[in-house]
Symmetry: C2
Subunit: 656 residues, 2 copies
């Protein structure tokens, strides 16, 4: 079986025309990507400089003395040690946007960026400005903390995306050379460093490169990074010793599990450590498991996914409960107010879910993918595309964010840009590449994982088939899918995902009710498909109150409101302050309205509720009395849209 | 009106013979005080050295080269900058214990300590080992952070206690000289430093000295410290500038309010900053307000007390919600798990309450005093007197204390001793001086604030009167009080506190029911009292479920169990893990048992309850369903006695 066949449809074969997502994608294309290019070039007035492109220019000048980008040669490296990755993410996002919206201006900026980047590349292929500027003798001496292989991984993603979007090989070839350089220094052979990335991403990025090159060495290096990780003697421990025993996590219970390196990855069955690193690693593990058929590795992936989705994931798809180490913490620990929930971690979870789907089309993976996309990922960006959350709390209290040290990482308003600007370009790259997440072909079956307006084409049974999806999802549960098989009917199975949140639905094929078998969350329709065949799905989309497992201490006595895949919240703008005094009324007593002019168009939910009245005395404690409640209609808005109307309180979980 | 008349009965005039408190006091006397003396002298095997007495010996040797305590002269100062205060607190506690239990051995140790301390005193009266050892030229240059005036204050308390207990003046005279030295350098006059203590206590300690010396300069210095504090130009700000602008709180919302110095004290109406410092200051403010009749100052004290008791105090009497700065946070912010609740802060709150009672006998002050004593103070010490809590959480989770950085200050087991050993000797000094908190005479009225077995004598209406109290409080609500007026009947008002927790009670005088007027929480009986007069109070002591004000977000949907003044908790030892899955059953469905052999004798409460069953699937979220509950009797023990049976979960607030 050619496992590479299982990949999603190419982004080039899908056009998204969706009333929900297209505006997001346009916002990314017209606002975020141009703004980021200015930021990378230190041209945003008032913003702290990024230094990112300046670093590349300086590195190029130092490498090729004949070059002159105007950067004084005695300037140092600026920004974070991983500053290079910012432009890599930008290239990747920009390349995706070119796929669905050609833009010669942007293509020119990309060429310009790539020319500068490539002119900094060393003779042997090496390409990391931090070490080119600070001394190449020190390169590969701190894999654990200095993000060299992290930047490498992001550039691999950028190179692959740029090549796939434009057919241009310049960056791809540069990265193939850089991969050779790394392969020469790191690996299992004697004389090489037996190291691996401190911050993972290169694993999945190498698999992507392998998808293009089919060069077994590229798969091999990814596999090596995964196999070596956490093996005794621990490379990071030895590296730490060589570097003077400076180990940031020595007083932490996490130790090397901060890096998912405390034990071999196949023995890691509980998600631990830095959340973004964790899900990036797991994504790479899933890729390698898929390509190699490594059963132990697959089992670890399954266990890790189950651990996250079943024990460590917020209802919004956010992960990483702890600001300390930006990390996962422990099972069922899900504080809503002090959560980290980094936007990048939710994005990484979507990567992981997508890769698990590529291995086996199971609804549980698509459910998590959908949950992150409609909630914990897009909550990271303001509706005007100009400001971003790094941290995505499920409960916000302005006074606490100001005065409570436990919540100093929790911002009440999105920020323009970060010194560590990982999240904004990460949102840009996942939203711009959304087309790659919608459908996949798996051994002759076409699966639809996400419902959004699009036209996609694919080849099956030797025929070209296209399908057009029309829907007002996530606000409405009706989805119309029309097939076109221009070169004649094609025999194949079509797998429609029945969303995990959906309790009842109807399916019609050419206006006749059908009840196909549902397997692993997908309704399977095996037939000969001809032009004009039309499926109509109606997923009932009532308002649902959701409770959390009794093991979760933070949500006792509370419920969250969901409708379809969308998690809702209460905001101060609609409901006043002290949201914790509110209670949900009788389930069922609600109304649903789509508000075109609110928050770029959202469906809001009004729910009967009550508010605890003030006591007649202002004592702090009193003998338990019947609660004095006053009626108070509760107005819920989609969680992703919170914090777009000035600072204020917010909560997802509401007393019941 | 001689305001000094309003002070409590002298400890010498009361003998405590109480089934609840006497064992605590004996434990302090026989275990804590001797252990601390060993610790202060670095003679506890395995414990980190205190350096406290060694510092004094070294300071003495440097001052008087003829002395030889055997400390090498090139040894530096050891321990914290405020290490001196440890022996001061020990002297104070030991002196109190001598009052109620003469002990020649202990008296000898005290003399030895005082001889060493006094031999370190400088010609001009100065007495702080940190600066004597490190360079006297630097003294008084960092009042804000170096605790010089804090140690001074603790020594004033020690000196007064030692003088009152033994009649010996050596330490008292040394401290009078030290006071003169400070008065020479600090004060309103030109050429003096316009400073005040960074960590308060000297204010109330100077008032105590004034009570002995009647020297107006001593009252004046206390008043100066209070009047100058927070005035512009801010002394601490200028000192910070002189010291190179190193200001630890520059990024904090607290700024100089960490030290209660952000504005003049009379304008401080909300309790803020470091909790221990805050209540120590407020205690001194109350003392000065009482003695000077300063109305603005009194109003500030009343506002601050009301703010704490009405908006920032845990049900246990703990204060200081935030580990960051060991500080108060903001109104109604009362997290149970990440609370700081330093034992010393609860003790300081008791000091403050006692002083407010001295100004005006109001039940609200005595209620807080009683609450701290039976809950948040004695929770700081293990029942064997050998281990101590610095932090007193209302909810404990072993896994969180290990893995959750927000709770790294929350220990699950009491510790033997601390590098910063403030809490153990502070418990010792308040418990040893409990006699001073029980009754007070206020302009001809004798008030009883606390109910515990004791015999007290006092002079009123020119007659000597004594009263004997017999009770099994706090386990039983009956209190018998017998008067003896050996030199003939005495006419006065007796004020009995009706505890705030008490909803119904009966009073009998000589076996006849009476219903005297109750004013400000005290039942007032005005009559001619003769020998054999006997009051019997029966305070009904049902189990009460308590809820917290709707403004408190942390306790929504929960209740705490109290009986009398005692706050109860659930512990893992009795109730298993995941205490947050438990729910209180029908109020009223409980039984109360006194267990002689459990936890040194406690009354336990069994309450009908339920436990949420596991779900049939292990998903993290599901549509809200009827809860599947199983019956589960809940066993409550007194909060103060938790963590005496190994590590485990604990919670005060329980779902209802």
């Amino acid at each position: 079986m050619d496992r590479l066949n299982q990949i999603p449809l190419s982004m080039k074969d899908i056009a998204i025309t969706d009333s929900f997502w297209s505006p997001f994608m346009e916002r990314i294309r017209t606002k975020v990507i141009p703004y980021q290019w200015e930021a990378l070039n230190d041209r945003v007035p008032g913003a702290e400089p990024s230094y990112c492109m300046r670093n590349f220019k300086l590195a190029a000048e130092l490498t090729h003395p004949e070059l002159n980008y105007g950067v004084p040669r005695d300037t140092g490296h600026g920004g974070m040690v991983f500053q290079d990755s910012d432009v890599a993410k930008w290239i990747e996002a920009a390349a995706y946007s070119l796929v669905w919206s050609p833009d010669p201006e942007l293509e020119k900026s990309l060429d310009e960026a790539i020319d500068i980047i490539c002119s900094a590349q060393q003779e042997d292929g090496y390409l990391d400005t931090f070490y080119i500027i600070n001394g190449l003798d020190k390169r590969f001496t701190n894999l654990k903390d200095n993000h060299e292989l992290y930047c490498f991984g992001h550039f691999l993603e950028a190179a692959a995306a740029h090549y796939e979007a434009t057919g241009k090989r310049k960056l791809l070839d540069a990265l193939i050379r850089y991969t050779e350089c790394i392969d020469k220094h790191i690996g299992p052979e004697e004389g090489k460093l037996h190291g691996y990335p401190g911050h993972e991403i290169a694993e999945m990025a190498l698999i992507r490169l392998y998808g293009i090159t089919k060069n077994e060495k590229h798969l091999g290096l990814a596999k090596y990074f995964i196999d070596e990780r956490g093996k005794a003697p621990l490379y990071f421990e030895e590296e730490t010793k060589r570097n003077g025993n400076d180990f940031h996590w020595k007083d932490s219970y996490m130790q090397y599990q901060y890096y998912q390196a405390g034990k071999p990855v196949r023995e890691q069955l509980v998600a631990e450590g830095h959340a973004v690193r964790a899900v990036y690693l797991y994504s790479g593990m899933a890729d390698v498991a898929r390509l190699t058929g490594d059963k132990k590795l697959l089992e670890a992936c399954e266990a890790l996914f189950a651990n996250i989705a079943g024990k460590q994931m917020y209802i919004t798809g956010a992960i990483g409960q702890s600001a300390y180490g930006e990390a996962l913490s422990y099972d069922y620990d899900l504080p809503n107010d002090t959560v980290y929930g980094e936007t990048c971690a939710a994005i990484g979870l979507a990567f992981f879910a997508r890769r698990m789907l590529e291995i086996a089309p199971k609804g549980m993976y698509a459910d998590v993918l959908e949950k992150t996309l409609y909630n914990g990922i897009i909550s990271g960006m303001s509706l005007d595309g100009r400001a971003f959350f790094y941290v995505n709390p499920l409960e916000a209290l302005p006074e606490a964010s100001l005065k409570d040290r436990r919540m100093r990482h929790v911002k009440i308003e999105r920020q323009r840009w970060f010194v560590c600007a990982c999240c904004p370009p990460n949102i840009a790259r996942i939203v711009s590449s959304l087309g790659g997440y919608v459908h996949s072909l798996n051994t002759g079956t076409l699966y639809t994982h996400l419902y959004l307006g699009n036209e996609a084409k694919f080849t099956v049974d030797g025929k070209e088939v296209s399908l057009k999806t029309e829907t007002r999802y996530p606000w409405e549960g009706r989805v119309d899918i029309t097939f076109t098989a221009a070169s004649g009917a094609a025999f194949f199975t079509y797998g429609l995902r029945i969303p995990g949140w959906c309790r009842s639905y109807t399916l019609e094929l050419n206006e006749e009710k059908i009840a196909p078998a549902v397997q692993n969350g997908y309704a399977l329709l095996k037939r000969s498909w001809k032009s004009g065949d039309r499926i109509t799905c109606v997923f009932d989309m009532p308002v649902v109150l959701v409770e959390s497992n009794p093991h979760v201490r933070e949500n006792r006595g509370k419920a969250a409101v969901m409708r379809g895949p969308v998690v809702y919240c209460l905001e101060e703008a609609d409901n006043g302050t002290e949201l914790y005094r509110l209670r949900l009324g009788t389930p069922g007593a609600y109304s649903v309205t789509h508000e075109r002019d609110l928050l770029e168009g959202v469906t809001v939910i009004s729910f009967a509720g009550t508010r605890e009245k003030d006591w007649s005395t202002d004592v702090l404690y009193r003998p338990l009395d019947k609660p004095a409640l006053e009626d108070k209609p509760l107005c819920f808005i989609p969680y992703y849209a919170w914090a777009n109307r000035g600072p204020g309180e917010m909560t997802v979980w509401v007393n019941r």
